[in-house]
Symmetry: C2
Subunit: 226 residues, 2 copies
């Protein structure tokens, strides 16, 4: 019952294509009207229905003539300079997709390492049979988590500063406090999955800096070079 994600290819079914055309043409016209009004810019669109020799245009035949002649007045060289044509449009989209993919790979790696980290911690084992890359990443991950906790503690201390001072005690160093918590965590026998959940929570809640790994995977031939 879930609507599909619209595959971007020619719709072969005649009636469906016709229906889609009508809807999308209307939507497009609405959008052009909106951007023109909202942003006060000149724009036009021309759309040909293959079953009809007369095109649909916006904003009006005269408006189109005006925009088109302005377009034609410009020398060919200028035209192709900074313009967004079909090719650069596709480049743009590919680049965006690459960036998204990169992010996703990074996210996946992060989760993987978090999982691995707590497997080790939960089992009370030492990191001896993990490979070098994993160890580096886990190390980085732990550092990030610590920094995150420090940041949060500093924040809450800033908020409760007056309260602490009234008790007459010195403010404890955020960093020391954190390391103690972390070490204690190593000794408990909490279920690994629970820990992971907790971990994911504060990772997602805190800053989401880019991990240092997996950043160049997408450059290795899957996509054409821009």
């Amino acid at each position: 019952m879930t609507r599909k994600k619209v595959e971007l290819t020619y719709i072969t079914n005649d009636s469906k294509r016709k229906a889609a055309f009508k809807k999308r043409k209307d939507g497009l016209m609405k959008k052009i009207n909106e951007i023109s009004t909202l942003c006060g810019i000149e724009a036009c669109a021309i759309i040909y229905d293959p079953n009809d020799p007369k095109p649909e245009v916006w904003p009006s035949p005269c408006g189109v003539q005006s925009v088109v002649s302005r377009f034609r007045r410009m020398p060919e060289v200028e035209q192709s300079k900074k313009m967004l044509n079909h090719e650069s449009f596709l480049r743009q989209r590919i680049q965006k997709a690459q960036e998204q993919l990169k992010k996703q790979i990074n996210e996946n790696r992060k989760k993987e390492m978090t999982h691995l980290m707590f497997q080790y911690l939960g089992a009370g084992k030492i990191f001896d049979n993990a490979n070098m890359t994993d160890l580096n990443d886990i190390s980085w991950l732990i550092d990030q988590n610590l920094k995150d906790i420090e940041r949060k503690i500093n924040q809450s201390q800033a908020q409760e500063g007056t309260l602490v001072a009234e008790n007459g005690s010195e403010t404890v160093s955020g960093e020391k406090q954190v390391h103690m918590d972390h070490d204690q965590g190593l000794e408990t026998n909490m279920d690994a999955m629970q820990k992971q959940n907790w971990s994911m929570n504060f990772i997602n809640g805190g800053g989401d800096e880019m991990l240092p790994f997996g950043a160049d995977i997408v450059q290795s031939g899957l996509w054409p070079n821009p």
Copy 2:
């Protein structure tokens, strides 16, 4: 915290307008690309950023030239014939809005009358101090409801036809049955609102014929005539 419904007027705030322009231009280009691919049609768009003498075009300068020259080859008279220009575009939108308004007014009237009807029924009063129009509408409403119930009874009888015949008894007339139910309903002391809910349920569930009232209200000067 709720996002506003975007008022369709020029955005005066410079940075907001610029941001909106970028987003909407990208969206528009994506849409043109999609309709062109999905429906296999020729189309082009030209958009001028006032801060940049070079327009953004789709699908490419050459593609635009091609579509534009095809457009220009057509005699002026033909151009303005069946085309959707700015004016007819606005007409279309106004007409749509009018139809929606008409529907909404009708819906409101329907609910109002249903409410009124059950106020009377619930209080066990006669319809003596209601005005003529209300009485007509309530009457129509009741008729519709009765027809709806008959239809449903006929349907279920058609389904259970064999079962009834096996019991050796004659099938009771749907209409008679209905009237009895309705009369009994008049004598009970059910809470009026409960009845209304019940009423709304079967009204919405059944056929939603147009009520005979309120249909011409929007014609009385609020909107320009198409």
